[in-house]
Assembly symmetry: C2
Homo-oligomer: 371 residues x 2
C-alpha cells in the first residue's frame, strides 16, 4: 500500500552477491504486502572508481538523498601497491555517505540463534541469553579529519628533521556525543533498559567528556539503568559474559573493533546486519543506510559462497527503521530463523549434519519461507 524508493549500492567483492539476495527479499515483501517499491541501482567503491573515477559520484549521492533508504553491500580495498599514493580510495564512499547524511547512530544487533550455538567458538552456556545491540557512533572521531578544529592538517604523514611522523586526531563535540547517547537510551527504553557506555576515560579526554554527557542524558531516562565500562574490560566481558549486556553505546573506532569481535558469538560475521541512522525523517521512519557488517571478502568473490543472511537482515532493518514496516521486518527475520532451523548453512557457519548451500540457494530458501 505504501510507495517507497530505495537506492541500492552493491559495492565490491561479495557485496553484489549478497545484495542481490537482500533485494530479492525486499521485492518479495513488496509483492506480498502490496507495496510499490522503486529501486535505483548505483555504483560505489572500487566499482565506482573504475567507472567514474570517484568512490561515489555526486549524482549517486543525489539519488540516495531522494530515496527513503540506502541498501549497501560492501566496500573493497585497493591492492597494497596501489594504496600508498592513491588519492581516491574506495572507503571514501562509506565515509562520505556517513558524514554527509550525518548517520551518527550505527545499530548492530548481536543475538546468537540457538540453532547456531554449535557453529560458535563459545560454549553454549556462555551464549545463553545473549541479546544485545551496539549503538556505534559513526560520524566523528578518528575516522574524520577535523580540518576546521586543529591548526594544521589534523590527519597526515609529515616529514620532520628526525624522519617521518603521522598524526590522527580524535575529536568529539558535545552535540556529537549527546545525540548518539540519546539514541542509545531511546533504544534501551524499548528493551531491557540497561545502557552500557564504553570508553577509555582513564586515558582519553574525549572519553572524560563522553562520560560527563552520558551522566547528563541519563537524568532524562530515570527508568533506564546505566553503567560506564572501559573498552578493554568490555572486550573481555563480550567473551566471558555477553548476556550481561543490553544496549552498548560507544565511539566510532571502539565500536568498529567490538562489533566485529562480538559477531563471533553468532558463529560468523556473515550473520550481523546494521542500520546507520541520522536525523532526517523518511516518509514513515528515519532515512538510513543498511549494510551487513562484513567486508567485501575478495577471496571468495564470485564463488557463490558468501552468507547472505547479514544482508537480508539488513533489509529487515531497512523495512523497520526507514519504511516503518514492522510486520514485514519481523516476517523477514522469522524466515531467516526458519531456514537456519531447517539446517541450511553457508560455509561460514558450516557444521556437522548441516545442509551446506551457496549464497543464491540460501537467499532463495529465505525468500521462499516468506511466502
Amino acid at each position: 500500500m505504501g510507495d517507497y524508493s530505495v537506492t541500492v549500492l552493491p559495492g565490491d567483492g561479495v557485496g553484489p552477491e549478497v545484495t542481490e539476495q537482500a533485494l530479492e527479499v525486499l521485492l518479495t515483501v513488496a509483492d506480498l504486502y502490496r507495496h510499490k517499491l522503486t529501486i535505483h541501482h548505483r555504483l560505489a567503491g572500487l566499482a565506482s572508481i573504475a567507472a567514474e573515477g570517484v568512490a561515489i559520484s555526486e549524482a549517486t549521492m543525489q539519488t540516495c538523498a531522494e530515496s527513503d533508504a540506502i541498501l549497501f553491500g560492501a566496500i573493497g580495498s585497493l591492492p597494497a601497491h596501489e594504496r600508498r599514493n592513491a588519492t581516491v580510495k574506495p572507503e571514501q564512499a562509506l565515509f562520505r555517505l556517513r558524514k554527509d547524511f550525518q548517520f551518527f547512530a550505527n545499530l548492530r544487533p548481536i543475538r546468537p540463534s540457538r540453532s547456531l550455538y554449535s557453529a560458535s567458538p563459545l560454549k553454549p552456556s556462555y551464549l545463553e541469553g545473549t541479546d544485545l545491540i551496539f549503538v556505534r557512533e559513526l560520524s566523528a572521531g578518528l575516522y574524520y579529519g577535523h580540518l576546521e578544529s586543529v591548526p594544521g592538517k589534523p590527519s597526515e604523514i609529515r616529514r620532520t628533521e628526525r624522519g617521518e611522523e603521522a598524526i590522527d586526531t580524535l575529536l568529539y563535540t558535545e552535540q556529537e556525543i549527546e545525540r548518539v547517547v540519546r539514541a542509545a537510551f531511546d533504544i534501551a527504553v524499548a528493551r531491557r533498559r540497561l545502557v552500557t557506555s564504553v570508553d577509555k576515560a582513564n586515558v582519553l579526554s574525549s572519553s572524560i567528556l563522553w562520560r560527563r554527557i552520558v551522566e547528563r542524558v541519563a537524568v532524562d531516562y530515570p527508568a533506564v539503568t546505566y553503567e560506564h565500562i572501559l573498552v578493554d574490560a568490555c572486550a573481555m566481558y563480550l567473551v566471558r559474559d555477553p548476556s550481561r549486556f543490553d544496549v552498548i553505546v560507544t565511539e566510532n573506532l571502539f565500536g568498529d573493533i567490538l562489533t566485529d569481535q562480538a559477531s563471533m558469538l553468532t558463529g560468523s560475521i556473515g550473520m550481523i546486519p546494521s542500520a546507520s541512522l541520522g536525523v532526517r525523517r523518511s516518509q514513515a521512519g528515519t532515512f538510513g543506510l543498511f549494510e551487513p557488517i562484513h567486508g567485501s571478502a575478495p577471496d571468495i568473490e564470485g564463488q557463490d559462497k558468501a552468507n547472505p543472511v547479514a544482508a537480508i537482515l539488513s533489509a529487515a532493518m531497512l523495512l523497520r527503521h526507514s519504511l516503518g514496516l514492522h510486520e514485514e521486518a519481523l516476517a523477514v527475520e522469522a524466515a531467516v530463523e526458519e531456514v537456519i532451523q531447517d539446517g541450511y548453512r553457508t560455509v561460514d557457519i558450516q557444521e556437522e549434519g548441516a545442509k551446506v548451500v551457496g549464497t543464491r540457494e540460501m537467499g532463495k530458501r529465505i525468500t521462499a519461507a516468506l511466502r
Copy 2:
C-alpha cells in the same frame, strides 16, 4: 650467584596481595639458586597519592632507575566523583614509568593451559595449539599528549561557542614504530617466525605509516613471514582462530583492547603476565617493568580471592628478561603449571571438581612446587 636489585611497587587494590606472592616466589628462587636479591618496597598509584600527594614520587623513580627491574602490582582508579577535577590521577604512575623509562615494548604472552580449557569460554577445539605473544607499543599514541608536536594543547576538553569539545591526538614517529616492530621481529625469530601487524590502515594515517615501516623492517628478517591485518578483523580472529597467530605487534590502544580480549582464552585475565621493556640494559638483560595485565579489582580487595598467577608469571618474565636467569624463569613457569595440573584454582578459574583456594594458598603451593 648473581647480585640483583628489584624495586617493588605493589600499587592498589589486589596489587599488594598478588605482588606479595610474586615476591615470595622471587625470594625462593634467589634462595634456591643462591642469588643475592635486594628488594626496595615503594608506593605508586592511589597509595602514593594518599601518602605523598603524587602518583609516583621523584625518589621512587630514582630508586627504580637504580634497580635491575621493577615488579609492579596494579593501579587503582579515583572514585567517579573525584575524577572530574582531579589533577593527580593514579594512572599517571604507570604513564610516567612507561614514558620516562621508554618502555616501548609490552610483551603479553597468551598460551592457554590444556588443564584450563574447561575454564575457558571457548570450545577446546578453538583453543588447541594457541600460543601467541603480543608486542604492544607502550610509549606513544593516544596515551600521551604531544605538546611539542601539535600547536595548542593536544589532549583537552575545551569550550567553544557550540558547547564543549574534546580532542586527543594519536601521533607516532618513525622511530617509535620502528623500534617496537623490530622488537616483534626479533621475538619471532626465536618462535614460529610469523609476525602479524595489526592496524587500521583503511582509516588512520598513523596506520599507513605503521605499515610502511613494517615493510621496511621485514626486509632485514628474510626468515620471518609477516602479514598486515585490520584491528577489527584481528578482534574476530582472536575468537575464531587464535592458533593462527604467533607474534602480534600493534600500537598502544589497540594492544590494550586486544590483549584483554585474548586473555579470556586462558579462562581469566588473572593468568596473563607482562613485561615492559625499553632500550636500557640491566646487568644481564634489559631493564624492565613486570606486571599482571589485570587491574586493581577493588571489588575483591583484601578478600584473599585474587589470582596470583599473573603476578607470579610476571616475576618469571622478570627473571628471564631483566636478570637473564632463564633456567629460573622456566622453573617458575613449571611450578605454576604443576599446581594448575594438580587441580588448584582461584575463584576466577573455578570449575567443577577443582580445589578452590585463596590468593595466599595458591601462591604458597607454587612456591612449594619450586622446591
